[in-house]
């Protein structure tokens, strides 16, 4: 197990190194001189030269790459051209809110997707199955930005059930200021017992999280169903039936666990995907997450920030996969034996 873990970690490190290199290459390919962008439109040649110096643009490429890696490792993720602050600080501010949203969406997706998948598998070939399959395919097919607009217009503007936008009532900053530890508002509010902010945040979370949950719910339901059906067609399921267990018991008490393996890998993938997909949702609901930062960075060709966001998401992907691998070991003893 530990050998496996070490090898797995080594692989992850290799992937991260690759991502860093690729990011670096893309950064260098982006048109527009970052020095010019940084120094501003009316910069003198001397200022430009200083900026070039600052970004090390005059060094040979391998040296630049090496410096870049060294800086990354020492925690210097560069300075954003558009916010003019260290990218790492920017990310630390923006990312927790995104994480909050994505986590909420995934919780919804898992809580809804798995039972739906089970229900579909249980009624395979019958009406409930068909309707679950079709609706999960719809959920997977809906353009997220479009759905966000529609839900916002209907439920917030129209019916007034949910707030239109934002993370919590901004007035609460005055009446019950939040003590910040993790920067994840809901978590901080929960642990400091700040109920007004907590309830407000949860209320604000509902719509964006639902929108963002649509895709993962759909794929998780589909995958759960497929894996369960496959699993319930295996020999061991026949054995369980022959032991007197009913169909529902076979599915939920026996087949579900081995079937969860592919679902788990899927969740890791969907997690990374949802962070980026969330950018579009964040824009509509004005969620103060990574999305605005990323789109602003792209709009302004802010290469250090783009690279920062990319690296962060890639690192999360790698981490999520690592976590899933370990989790799979917990769920499936065969994986542990590897």
């Amino acid at each position: 197990m530990s050998r496996y873990l070490i090898r797995r970690l080594g692989q992850a490190a290799l992937v991260v190194a690759g991502v860093v290199t690729l990011t670096f290459v893309i950064m260098r390919l982006v048109p527009g001189d970052p020095a010019v962008a940084y120094a501003g439109p009316r910069a003198s040649p001397a200022e430009l030269a200083a900026a070039r110096q600052r970004f090390g643009l005059d060094d040979p490429l391998p040296v630049q790459l090496w410096n870049y890696v060294r800086d990354l490792v020492t925690g210097d993720w560069g300075v954003s051209l558009h916010t003019r602050r260290p990218v790492r600080d920017d990310l630390f501010l923006a990312f927790p809110a995104s994480l909050e949203l994505v986590a909420a969406a995934l919780v919804i997706a898992v809580a809804a997707g798995i039972p739906l998948g089970v229900a579909a598998a249980r009624h395979k070939g019958r009406l409930p199955d068909l309707s679950i399959r079709l609706s999960s395919m719809l959920a997977v097919s809906v353009p997220v930005f479009w759905m966000a607009l529609a839900l916002q217009t209907i439920f917030s503007s129209g019916l007034g059930w949910f707030p239109i936008a934002g993370e919590y009532d901004t007035g609460l900053d005055q009446t019950s200021p939040l003590r910040v530890y993790t920067n994840i508002t809901a978590v901080d509010a929960l642990f400091t017992g700040n109920w007004p902010i907590l309830t407000s945040t949860l209320h604000h979370l509902v719509l964006p999280a639902l929108v963002l949950a649509a895709y993962p719910t759909g794929v998780i339901a589909q995958m759960t169903r497929a894996a369960l059906i496959e699993e319930s067609a295996r020999d061991h399921a026949r054995m369980e039936r022959a032991l007197g267990f009913g169909e529902t018991a076979v599915l939920t008490r026996f087949a579900l666990r081995p079937a969860l393996n592919p679902v788990l890998s899927l969740i890791a993938l969907v997690f990374a995907y949802s962070i980026v997909n969330g950018f579009l949702v964040e824009a509509v609901f004005n969620w103060p997450g990574l999305g605005r930062y990323a789109t602003d960075s792209i709009r302004t060709l802010d290469t250090p920030s783009i690279a920062g966001v990319t690296l962060l998401v890639a690192a999360l992907y790698v981490l999520a996969n690592l976590a899933v691998d370990l989790l799979q070991g917990v769920i499936d003893p065969r994986a542990r034996a590897r």
Partner: protein, 269 residues
């Protein structure tokens, strides 16, 4: 139906669509008896066996629809064809148990053997200390170390897995084991051990066995009666000794003849 008759089949016909995949005019298994079904691949052996447990056409059969079963199947006094799912579940495991061909694949990979045993016992109303002692006893009866219950399927050998499946049947108090080629995935030496366990349980506890196999030689050593199937139909049936000594059907003859023989000292002389 005699008291000792555990399985009684009359005029069973299983169809998928318009195709008859198994048709068995008559089959009885009494307690303490070993009845074997032999025949070529696809001849309907497994189908017959599963039909007895009402398991043909269930979800496990890769998308099978339109399975049609007619005839009469009575297992441990329950009319399988007419029975509702609840009634069927009542006999499965606790009275008639299944042992399948692929040893490890028949056990849930994510579950310790002991967990499976515990759940199965709980399903049939045996819990707590009683369950534990029953499990231990059954496992010992098939010559396994009770320690095995802490293992996962991939941590046990094929023969152990098969014996554990038999132990499950014992613990649940099954009177008959329906075994679908229980040893064909095993090496001969291991096969001998599983067969020995089955024989011993039959002798000591009167456990009945309905055995599906394509190994004629194996069948000839343990079965009391044999059914030979081909293309979904029974071509010959009768007491084992008689059938092997004087096969009446051409196909049975061919089967018997095809058994490769080991050279022996007698020949050498």
């Amino acid at each position: 139906m005699g008291n000792g008759t555990l399985i009684r089949i009359r005029g069973l016909v299983v169809r998928i669509g318009d195709r008859v995949i198994a048709s068995v005019p008559e089959l009885d298994v009494g307690s303490g008896e070993c009845v074997a079904i032999v025949g070529e691949s696809g001849s309907g052996k497994t189908t017959t066996l599963l039909a007895a447990l009402g398991l043909v056409g269930d979800v496990s059969d890769l998308g099978v629809r339109g399975v049609d079963i007619s005839g009469e199947i009575t297992v441990c006094g329950v009319d399988v064809v007419a029975a509702g799912p609840g009634e069927l579940r009542g006999i499965r495991g606790s009275r008639a148990a299944l042992v399948m061909q692929s040893p490890q694949a028949a056990l849930n990979p994510t579950m310790r053997l002991g967990t499976l045993m515990r759940r199965a016992l709980a399903r049939h109303g045996v819990k707590g200390a009683a369950a534990r002692s029953r499990a231990e006893e059954a496992v010992k009866a098939v010559l396994l170390d009770p320690e095995i219950m802490r293992r996962y399927p991939h941590q046990v050998s094929g023969g152990q897995a098969q014996r554990f499946a038999i132990a499950l049947a014992l613990a649940l108090g099954a009177e008959i084991v329906l075994a679908d080629e229980p040893t064909s995935a095993l090496d001969v030496t291991v096969q001998a051990e599983v067969v020995a366990v089955l024989r011993r349980l039959r002798d000591e506890r009167g456990l009945a066995v309905l055995l599906v196999s394509h190994d004629l030689a194996l069948v000839s050593t343990i079965a009391d009666r044999v059914l030979v199937m081909r293309d979904g139909a029974v071509v010959e049936s009768g007491p084992a000794a008689e059938l092997f000594d004087r096969p009446r059907d051409a196909y049975t003859r061919e089967l018997v003849a095809a058994v490769p023989a080991l050279p022996s000292r007698e020949e050498e002389r």
